[in-house]
Protein backbone atom coordinates (compact mmCIF):
# COMPACT_ATOMS: atom_id res chain seq x y z
CA UNK A 1 0.00 0.00 0.00
CA UNK A 2 1.64 3.27 -1.07
CA UNK A 3 2.66 5.47 1.85
CA UNK A 4 0.91 8.55 0.42
CA UNK A 5 -2.53 7.01 0.93
CA UNK A 6 -4.21 8.25 4.09
CA UNK A 7 -6.98 6.54 6.03
CA UNK A 8 -10.30 8.41 5.87
CA UNK A 9 -11.59 9.79 9.15
CA UNK A 10 -15.08 8.32 8.90
CA UNK A 11 -15.66 8.89 12.61
CA UNK A 12 -15.41 12.66 12.18
CA UNK A 13 -17.53 12.55 9.02
CA UNK A 14 -20.23 10.59 10.82
CA UNK A 15 -20.33 13.04 13.73
CA UNK A 16 -20.95 15.95 11.35
CA UNK A 17 -23.37 14.04 9.08
CA UNK A 18 -27.05 14.88 9.64
CA UNK A 19 -29.62 12.11 10.07
CA UNK A 20 -31.34 11.86 6.69
CA UNK A 21 -34.41 10.02 7.93
CA UNK A 22 -36.40 9.16 11.00
CA UNK A 23 -38.04 5.99 9.70
CA UNK A 24 -37.18 3.45 6.99
CA UNK A 25 -40.11 4.77 4.94
CA UNK A 26 -38.31 8.15 4.64
CA UNK A 27 -35.26 6.60 2.97
CA UNK A 28 -34.58 7.14 -0.75
CA UNK A 29 -33.80 3.61 -1.99
CA UNK A 30 -31.59 2.98 -5.04
CA UNK A 31 -33.19 0.60 -7.51
CA UNK A 32 -31.19 -2.55 -8.28
CA UNK A 33 -31.71 -4.48 -11.52
CA UNK A 34 -30.25 -7.66 -12.96
CA UNK A 35 -28.16 -5.86 -15.57
CA UNK A 36 -26.33 -3.28 -13.49
CA UNK A 37 -24.74 -3.82 -10.09
CA UNK A 38 -24.94 -0.98 -7.59
CA UNK A 39 -21.81 0.52 -6.06
CA UNK A 40 -21.50 3.09 -3.32
CA UNK A 41 -18.68 4.72 -1.39
CA UNK A 42 -20.33 4.53 2.00
CA UNK A 43 -19.17 7.45 4.14
CA UNK A 44 -18.51 9.94 1.36
CA UNK A 45 -20.15 13.40 1.21
CA UNK A 46 -23.31 12.09 -0.48
CA UNK A 47 -23.71 9.10 1.77
CA UNK A 48 -26.85 9.13 3.97
CA UNK A 49 -26.61 8.48 7.70
CA UNK A 50 -29.22 7.69 10.33
CA UNK A 51 -29.66 6.20 13.79
CA UNK A 52 -29.98 2.43 14.04
CA UNK A 53 -30.59 0.33 17.17
CA UNK A 54 -26.79 0.03 17.69
CA UNK A 55 -26.05 3.70 17.01
CA UNK A 56 -25.63 6.10 14.11
CA UNK A 57 -24.20 4.73 10.85
CA UNK A 58 -23.70 5.61 7.21
CA UNK A 59 -25.77 3.25 5.11
CA UNK A 60 -26.72 2.07 1.63
CA UNK A 61 -30.42 1.55 0.78
CA UNK A 62 -31.52 -0.73 -2.05
CA UNK A 63 -34.82 -1.56 -3.70
CA UNK A 64 -34.80 -5.10 -5.12
CA UNK A 65 -35.92 -5.91 -8.69
CA UNK A 66 -39.56 -7.00 -9.14
CA UNK A 67 -39.88 -10.69 -8.25
CA UNK A 68 -40.45 -13.03 -11.21
CA UNK A 69 -38.26 -16.00 -10.35
CA UNK A 70 -35.93 -16.56 -7.36
CA UNK A 71 -32.80 -14.45 -7.42
CA UNK A 72 -29.53 -14.18 -5.58
CA UNK A 73 -28.18 -11.06 -3.93
CA UNK A 74 -24.42 -10.79 -3.52
CA UNK A 75 -23.06 -8.01 -1.29
CA UNK A 76 -19.36 -7.39 -1.36
CA UNK A 77 -17.52 -4.87 0.79
CA UNK A 78 -14.09 -3.90 -0.49
CA UNK A 79 -11.52 -2.03 1.57
CA UNK A 80 -10.90 1.68 1.04
CA UNK A 81 -7.18 1.99 1.83
CA UNK A 82 -7.05 -0.39 4.82
CA UNK A 83 -10.59 0.29 6.07
CA UNK A 84 -13.44 -2.15 5.63
CA UNK A 85 -17.16 -1.51 6.13
CA UNK A 86 -18.56 -4.74 7.63
CA UNK A 87 -22.31 -4.70 7.01
CA UNK A 88 -25.36 -5.69 8.97
CA UNK A 89 -28.39 -6.13 6.69
CA UNK A 90 -32.01 -5.29 7.30
CA UNK A 91 -34.47 -6.75 4.79
CA UNK A 92 -37.78 -4.89 4.62
CA UNK A 93 -41.14 -5.65 3.08
CA UNK A 94 -43.08 -3.22 0.84
CA UNK A 95 -44.48 -1.55 3.97
CA UNK A 96 -40.89 -0.87 5.19
CA UNK A 97 -41.16 -3.35 8.05
CA UNK A 98 -38.03 -5.33 9.00
CA UNK A 99 -38.75 -8.96 8.14
CA UNK A 100 -35.23 -10.32 8.28
CA UNK A 101 -31.95 -9.26 9.81
CA UNK A 102 -28.59 -10.64 8.71
CA UNK A 103 -25.78 -10.18 11.23
CA UNK A 104 -22.28 -9.06 10.25
CA UNK A 105 -20.98 -12.37 11.65
CA UNK A 106 -22.67 -14.11 8.69
CA UNK A 107 -20.34 -12.29 6.30
CA UNK A 108 -17.38 -14.21 4.98
CA UNK A 109 -13.99 -12.48 5.10
CA UNK A 110 -11.72 -13.61 2.27
CA UNK A 111 -8.84 -12.07 0.34
CA UNK A 112 -9.16 -8.65 2.00
CA UNK A 113 -12.88 -8.25 1.34
CA UNK A 114 -16.02 -9.42 3.08
CA UNK A 115 -19.10 -10.75 1.32
CA UNK A 116 -22.45 -12.42 1.79
CA UNK A 117 -24.88 -14.07 -0.61
CA UNK A 118 -28.50 -14.94 -0.06
CA UNK A 119 -31.52 -15.87 -2.11
CA UNK A 120 -34.94 -14.30 -2.47
CA UNK A 121 -37.17 -17.33 -3.06
CA UNK A 122 -40.93 -17.64 -3.64
CA UNK A 123 -41.54 -17.62 0.11
CA UNK A 124 -39.54 -14.35 0.43
CA UNK A 125 -41.47 -12.45 -2.26
CA UNK A 126 -42.60 -9.90 0.30
CA UNK A 127 -38.99 -8.74 0.82
CA UNK A 128 -38.47 -5.68 -1.35
CA UNK A 129 -35.92 -3.36 0.29
CA UNK A 130 -32.54 -3.71 1.97
CA UNK A 131 -30.68 -1.37 4.30
CA UNK A 132 -26.94 -1.96 4.71
CA UNK A 133 -25.29 -0.37 7.76
CA UNK A 134 -22.57 -1.17 10.28
CA UNK A 135 -22.60 -1.66 14.04
CA UNK A 136 -20.41 0.64 16.12
CA UNK A 137 -19.42 -2.31 18.33
CA UNK A 138 -17.23 -3.87 15.63
CA UNK A 139 -15.33 -0.72 14.55
CA UNK A 140 -11.55 -1.02 14.88
CA UNK A 141 -11.34 -4.83 14.80
CA UNK A 142 -8.70 -6.08 12.36
CA UNK A 143 -8.25 -8.76 9.74
CA UNK A 144 -5.21 -9.54 7.63
CA UNK A 145 -4.72 -9.78 3.91
CA UNK A 146 -1.76 -10.44 1.65
CA UNK A 147 -1.53 -8.71 -1.70
CA UNK A 148 1.05 -9.01 -4.43
CA UNK A 149 2.49 -5.85 -5.91
CA UNK A 150 4.30 -5.89 -9.19
CA UNK A 151 6.70 -3.50 -10.87
CA UNK A 152 7.84 -3.76 -14.48
CA UNK A 153 11.29 -2.61 -15.57
CA UNK A 154 12.16 -2.44 -19.30
CA UNK A 155 15.56 -4.00 -20.03
CA UNK A 156 17.08 -2.81 -23.34
CA UNK A 157 19.23 -5.40 -25.13
CA UNK A 158 20.25 -3.85 -28.46
CA UNK A 159 17.11 -3.68 -30.61
CA UNK A 160 15.17 -5.79 -28.12
CA UNK A 161 13.25 -4.71 -25.05
CA UNK A 162 12.43 -7.21 -22.33
CA UNK A 163 9.88 -6.14 -19.76
CA UNK A 164 11.08 -7.65 -16.50
CA UNK A 165 8.44 -7.79 -13.79
CA UNK A 166 9.28 -8.16 -10.13
CA UNK A 167 6.70 -9.23 -7.54
CA UNK A 168 6.64 -8.50 -3.86
CA UNK A 169 4.31 -9.54 -1.08
CA UNK A 170 2.52 -6.87 0.96
CA UNK A 171 0.89 -7.86 4.25
CA UNK A 172 -1.96 -5.51 5.18
CA UNK A 173 -3.97 -5.06 8.34
CA UNK A 174 -7.58 -4.35 7.39
CA UNK A 175 -9.55 -2.45 10.04
CA UNK A 176 -13.35 -2.44 10.39
CA UNK A 177 -14.48 1.14 9.72
CA UNK A 178 -17.59 3.30 9.52
CA UNK A 179 -17.20 3.70 5.77
CA UNK A 180 -15.99 1.77 2.75
CA UNK A 181 -16.85 0.54 -0.69
CA UNK A 182 -19.99 -1.58 -1.25
CA UNK A 183 -21.03 -3.50 -4.37
CA UNK A 184 -24.42 -5.20 -4.67
CA UNK A 185 -25.33 -7.58 -7.49
CA UNK A 186 -28.67 -9.30 -8.26
CA UNK A 187 -28.62 -12.48 -10.34
CA UNK A 188 -31.59 -14.62 -11.40
CA UNK A 189 -31.40 -18.16 -10.02
CA UNK A 190 -30.78 -20.19 -13.16
CA UNK A 191 -28.72 -23.34 -12.85
CA UNK A 192 -26.17 -24.62 -15.34
CA UNK A 193 -26.22 -28.24 -16.39
CA UNK A 194 -23.13 -30.45 -16.54
CA UNK A 195 -23.79 -31.10 -20.24
CA UNK A 196 -23.51 -27.40 -21.10
CA UNK A 197 -20.69 -26.77 -18.68
CA UNK A 198 -17.26 -26.36 -20.22
CA UNK A 199 -15.57 -27.91 -17.15
CA UNK A 200 -12.68 -25.51 -17.49
CA UNK A 201 -11.38 -26.06 -13.99
CA UNK A 202 -8.63 -28.42 -15.03
CA UNK A 203 -6.70 -27.86 -11.92
CA UNK A 204 -3.79 -25.41 -11.97
CA UNK A 205 -0.99 -27.31 -10.25
CA UNK A 206 -0.53 -25.47 -6.96
Amino acid sequence: MPACQQAINYKEKLVTAKDCCKTYADIRFKKLDFKDPLSQQVGDEESPAMSFPEGKSFFMAIEFPEFKIPFEINIESLPTYNQLFVPTLLLLDRQYRVVRRIEDSSFQYSNGKTSYKFFINYEDKNIHYMVVYTRSGIIGKTNHSVTTQQATIPIFAGAYVINYTTHSEVKNKIKNARGGNLNVVAKEYKLRNISDDPNRDHSPDF
Binding site: P70, E72, L91, V98, V99, R100, R101, I102, E103, S106, Q108, S110, N111, K117, F118, F119, N121, E123, H144, S145, V146, T148, Q150, I162, N163, Y164, T165, T166, H167, S168, E169, Y189, L191, R192, N193, I194, S195, D197, P198, N199, R200, D201, H202, S203, P204, D205, F206
Partner: protein
Protein backbone atom coordinates in the same frame (compact mmCIF):
# COMPACT_ATOMS: atom_id res chain seq x y z
CA UNK B 1 12.90 -35.87 -14.20
CA UNK B 2 12.76 -34.19 -17.66
CA UNK B 3 9.15 -35.38 -18.10
CA UNK B 4 8.24 -33.92 -14.72
CA UNK B 5 9.85 -30.56 -15.58
CA UNK B 6 8.01 -30.43 -18.91
CA UNK B 7 4.67 -31.22 -17.22
CA UNK B 8 5.22 -28.46 -14.64
CA UNK B 9 6.26 -25.96 -17.35
CA UNK B 10 3.18 -26.71 -19.47
CA UNK B 11 0.84 -26.44 -16.48
CA UNK B 12 2.44 -23.12 -15.48
CA UNK B 13 2.05 -21.71 -18.98
CA UNK B 14 -1.51 -22.94 -19.59
CA UNK B 15 -3.45 -21.18 -16.87
CA UNK B 16 -7.12 -21.56 -17.80
CA UNK B 17 -10.26 -19.65 -16.82
CA UNK B 18 -12.14 -20.79 -13.78
CA UNK B 19 -15.70 -22.17 -13.90
CA UNK B 20 -18.49 -19.82 -12.76
CA UNK B 21 -19.35 -20.18 -9.10
CA UNK B 22 -22.80 -21.30 -8.00
CA UNK B 23 -24.13 -20.70 -4.48
CA UNK B 24 -26.29 -23.42 -2.97
CA UNK B 25 -29.91 -22.36 -2.50
CA UNK B 26 -31.21 -24.53 0.37
CA UNK B 27 -34.84 -23.39 0.10
CA UNK B 28 -35.00 -24.24 -3.61
CA UNK B 29 -33.38 -27.64 -3.08
CA UNK B 30 -35.26 -29.13 -0.16
CA UNK B 31 -35.48 -32.38 -2.12
CA UNK B 32 -31.74 -32.94 -1.67
CA UNK B 33 -31.65 -35.28 1.30
CA UNK B 34 -29.06 -37.88 0.29
CA UNK B 35 -25.64 -37.26 -1.25
CA UNK B 36 -23.07 -39.62 -2.77
CA UNK B 37 -19.64 -38.14 -2.16
CA UNK B 38 -17.13 -39.11 -4.84
CA UNK B 39 -13.76 -40.11 -3.42
CA UNK B 40 -11.10 -37.80 -4.86
CA UNK B 41 -7.84 -39.06 -6.36
CA UNK B 42 -5.08 -38.98 -3.77
CA UNK B 43 -2.48 -36.33 -4.79
CA UNK B 44 0.75 -38.07 -5.84
CA UNK B 45 2.95 -35.70 -3.89
CA UNK B 46 3.03 -32.46 -1.94
CA UNK B 47 4.53 -30.06 -4.42
CA UNK B 48 6.52 -26.92 -3.64
CA UNK B 49 5.69 -23.85 -5.74
CA UNK B 50 7.01 -20.37 -6.36
CA UNK B 51 3.95 -18.67 -7.84
CA UNK B 52 5.79 -15.71 -9.43
CA UNK B 53 9.04 -17.37 -10.39
CA UNK B 54 11.27 -14.82 -12.20
CA UNK B 55 12.17 -17.44 -14.82
CA UNK B 56 8.57 -17.45 -16.06
CA UNK B 57 9.14 -14.10 -17.76
CA UNK B 58 11.75 -15.37 -20.17
CA UNK B 59 9.67 -17.48 -22.54
CA UNK B 60 9.89 -21.24 -22.84
CA UNK B 61 13.55 -21.46 -21.83
CA UNK B 62 12.95 -19.34 -18.73
CA UNK B 63 9.82 -21.41 -18.03
CA UNK B 64 11.84 -24.62 -18.20
CA UNK B 65 14.46 -23.17 -15.84
CA UNK B 66 11.68 -22.14 -13.40
CA UNK B 67 10.07 -25.57 -13.69
CA UNK B 68 13.43 -27.27 -13.06
CA UNK B 69 13.93 -25.15 -9.93
CA UNK B 70 10.41 -25.97 -8.68
CA UNK B 71 10.87 -29.69 -9.45
CA UNK B 72 14.15 -29.70 -7.56
CA UNK B 73 12.54 -28.02 -4.52
CA UNK B 74 9.61 -30.46 -4.67
CA UNK B 75 12.04 -33.42 -4.76
CA UNK B 76 14.03 -32.01 -1.84
CA UNK B 77 10.80 -31.72 0.15
CA UNK B 78 9.61 -35.25 -0.79
CA UNK B 79 12.86 -36.62 0.64
CA UNK B 80 12.34 -34.63 3.85
CA UNK B 81 8.89 -36.12 4.43
CA UNK B 82 9.56 -39.59 2.99
CA UNK B 83 9.25 -41.26 6.42
CA UNK B 84 5.47 -40.67 6.48
CA UNK B 85 2.89 -41.68 3.90
CA UNK B 86 -0.49 -40.00 4.27
CA UNK B 87 -3.55 -40.81 2.20
CA UNK B 88 -4.92 -37.27 1.86
CA UNK B 89 -7.96 -38.37 -0.12
CA UNK B 90 -9.05 -40.84 2.58
CA UNK B 91 -8.52 -38.18 5.24
CA UNK B 92 -10.59 -35.62 3.31
CA UNK B 93 -13.31 -38.13 2.51
CA UNK B 94 -13.75 -39.29 6.13
CA UNK B 95 -14.05 -35.69 7.28
CA UNK B 96 -16.46 -34.49 4.59
CA UNK B 97 -18.79 -37.45 5.16
CA UNK B 98 -18.89 -36.59 8.84
CA UNK B 99 -19.42 -32.84 8.21
CA UNK B 100 -22.25 -33.43 5.73
CA UNK B 101 -23.92 -35.90 8.07
CA UNK B 102 -23.81 -33.23 10.80
CA UNK B 103 -25.36 -30.82 8.28
CA UNK B 104 -28.34 -33.18 8.06
CA UNK B 105 -27.65 -35.21 4.90
CA UNK B 106 -27.71 -38.95 4.43
CA UNK B 107 -24.31 -39.63 2.88
CA UNK B 108 -22.54 -42.45 1.06
CA UNK B 109 -19.01 -42.66 -0.25
CA UNK B 110 -18.65 -43.47 -3.93
CA UNK B 111 -15.34 -44.63 -5.34
CA UNK B 112 -14.72 -44.45 -9.10
CA UNK B 113 -11.62 -46.47 -10.04
CA UNK B 114 -11.22 -44.79 -13.44
CA UNK B 115 -11.26 -41.30 -11.94
CA UNK B 116 -8.76 -38.82 -13.38
CA UNK B 117 -6.92 -36.44 -11.07
CA UNK B 118 -7.39 -32.66 -11.19
CA UNK B 119 -10.85 -32.51 -12.78
CA UNK B 120 -14.53 -33.11 -12.14
CA UNK B 121 -16.31 -36.19 -13.47
CA UNK B 122 -18.28 -35.70 -16.67
CA UNK B 123 -21.02 -38.17 -15.73
CA UNK B 124 -22.61 -39.02 -12.43
CA UNK B 125 -24.26 -42.38 -11.79
CA UNK B 126 -23.96 -45.48 -9.65
CA UNK B 127 -25.83 -44.46 -6.51
CA UNK B 128 -29.48 -44.14 -5.50
CA UNK B 129 -29.16 -40.60 -4.17
CA UNK B 130 -30.55 -37.10 -4.70
CA UNK B 131 -27.19 -35.51 -5.55
CA UNK B 132 -23.51 -36.18 -6.15
CA UNK B 133 -20.77 -34.16 -4.46
CA UNK B 134 -17.65 -34.09 -6.59
CA UNK B 135 -14.42 -32.54 -5.30
CA UNK B 136 -10.69 -32.64 -5.83
CA UNK B 137 -7.76 -30.77 -4.39
CA UNK B 138 -4.09 -29.88 -4.72
CA UNK B 139 -1.78 -29.91 -1.75
CA UNK B 140 1.45 -27.96 -1.65
CA UNK B 141 3.73 -25.44 -0.02
CA UNK B 142 3.61 -22.18 -1.96
CA UNK B 143 5.66 -18.99 -1.94
CA UNK B 144 4.82 -15.82 -3.88
CA UNK B 145 8.42 -15.12 -4.94
CA UNK B 146 11.73 -16.94 -4.37
CA UNK B 147 12.30 -14.75 -1.27
CA UNK B 148 8.77 -15.06 0.23
CA UNK B 149 7.75 -17.42 3.03
CA UNK B 150 6.61 -20.93 2.10
CA UNK B 151 2.98 -21.25 3.21
CA UNK B 152 0.87 -24.43 3.46
CA UNK B 153 -1.66 -24.59 0.65
CA UNK B 154 -4.77 -26.65 -0.01
CA UNK B 155 -6.73 -25.62 -3.08
CA UNK B 156 -10.05 -27.45 -3.31
CA UNK B 157 -12.63 -27.49 -6.12
CA UNK B 158 -16.15 -28.71 -5.28
CA UNK B 159 -19.50 -29.05 -7.00
CA UNK B 160 -22.85 -30.61 -6.16
CA UNK B 161 -24.84 -32.07 -9.04
CA UNK B 162 -28.55 -32.99 -8.97
CA UNK B 163 -28.77 -36.75 -9.65
CA UNK B 164 -31.93 -36.44 -11.79
CA UNK B 165 -31.58 -33.15 -13.68
CA UNK B 166 -27.75 -33.01 -13.69
CA UNK B 167 -28.01 -29.34 -12.76
CA UNK B 168 -25.02 -27.88 -10.92
CA UNK B 169 -26.54 -26.92 -7.58
CA UNK B 170 -23.30 -25.67 -6.05
CA UNK B 171 -19.81 -24.91 -7.25
CA UNK B 172 -16.99 -23.13 -5.44
CA UNK B 173 -13.28 -23.06 -4.76
CA UNK B 174 -11.67 -23.07 -1.31
CA UNK B 175 -8.07 -22.02 -0.61
CA UNK B 176 -6.52 -22.80 2.76
CA UNK B 177 -3.25 -21.15 3.78
CA UNK B 178 -1.64 -19.53 0.75
CA UNK B 179 -3.83 -16.69 -0.57
CA UNK B 180 -4.28 -17.81 -4.20
CA UNK B 181 -5.96 -15.42 -6.61
CA UNK B 182 -7.00 -18.03 -9.21
CA UNK B 183 -10.79 -18.20 -9.51
CA UNK B 184 -11.45 -15.90 -6.52
CA UNK B 185 -11.51 -18.75 -3.98
CA UNK B 186 -12.93 -18.53 -0.48
CA UNK B 187 -9.77 -18.08 1.57
CA UNK B 188 -9.17 -19.71 4.95
CA UNK B 189 -5.96 -18.37 6.51
CA UNK B 190 -3.47 -20.70 8.19
CA UNK B 191 -1.63 -19.76 11.37
CA UNK B 192 1.50 -17.58 11.02
CA UNK B 193 3.34 -20.32 12.93
CA UNK B 194 3.33 -22.32 9.71
CA UNK B 195 5.36 -19.95 7.55
CA UNK B 196 8.86 -21.09 6.58
CA UNK B 197 11.49 -18.61 5.31
CA UNK B 198 13.08 -20.86 2.70
CA UNK B 199 13.10 -24.37 1.32
CA UNK B 200 15.87 -25.53 3.68
CA UNK B 201 13.94 -24.43 6.77
CA UNK B 202 10.79 -26.08 5.39
CA UNK B 203 12.68 -29.34 4.80
CA UNK B 204 14.30 -29.19 8.26
CA UNK B 205 10.78 -29.29 9.72
CA UNK B 206 10.26 -32.64 7.96
CA UNK B 207 7.06 -34.42 8.98
CA UNK B 208 6.18 -31.58 11.38
CA UNK B 209 5.42 -29.48 8.30
CA UNK B 210 2.57 -31.89 7.44
CA UNK B 211 0.54 -30.81 10.48
CA UNK B 212 -0.87 -27.58 8.94
CA UNK B 213 -1.78 -29.52 5.79
CA UNK B 214 -3.71 -32.06 7.88
CA UNK B 215 -5.53 -29.18 9.57
CA UNK B 216 -6.04 -27.46 6.23
CA UNK B 217 -7.74 -30.39 4.55
CA UNK B 218 -10.25 -30.54 7.40
CA UNK B 219 -10.89 -26.78 7.23
CA UNK B 220 -11.37 -26.90 3.46
CA UNK B 221 -13.92 -29.74 3.41
CA UNK B 222 -15.70 -28.32 6.45
CA UNK B 223 -16.21 -25.10 4.47
CA UNK B 224 -17.94 -27.09 1.71
CA UNK B 225 -20.30 -28.56 4.32
CA UNK B 226 -20.98 -25.04 5.65
CA UNK B 227 -21.82 -23.89 2.11
CA UNK B 228 -24.24 -26.81 1.73
CA UNK B 229 -25.82 -26.32 5.13
CA UNK B 230 -29.55 -26.80 4.73
CA UNK B 231 -30.39 -24.69 7.76
CA UNK B 232 -28.52 -21.52 6.84
CA UNK B 233 -31.50 -19.50 5.63
CA UNK B 234 -33.78 -20.82 8.35
CA UNK B 235 -31.26 -19.87 11.07
CA UNK B 236 -31.15 -16.27 9.83
CA UNK B 237 -34.93 -16.06 9.70
CA UNK B 238 -35.17 -17.26 13.30
CA UNK B 239 -32.65 -14.60 14.38
CA UNK B 240 -34.64 -11.89 12.62
CA UNK B 241 -37.86 -12.98 14.29
CA UNK B 242 -36.13 -12.99 17.68
CA UNK B 243 -34.78 -9.49 17.04
CA UNK B 244 -38.20 -8.03 16.44
Amino acid sequence: MLKKITVIAVVMLLFGCANPKQSFNPAANKHIQSIAVLTPVNPKEISVHVIHHPGMQFGLVGGLIAAADIASKTNQYQEAIAAVKINWAERAQARILLSLEKAGYKVTSLSIPSREPGKFQEEYEGAQVDAYLDYYFNISYAATTPTSDYTPSIFLFARLVDAKTKAILYEDRIAYGYQHKYGDPVHIPSSNVYLYNNIDILCEQGIKSLEPLKEGIHHAVDKVAVHLNKGLGVRIDKQAKAAQ
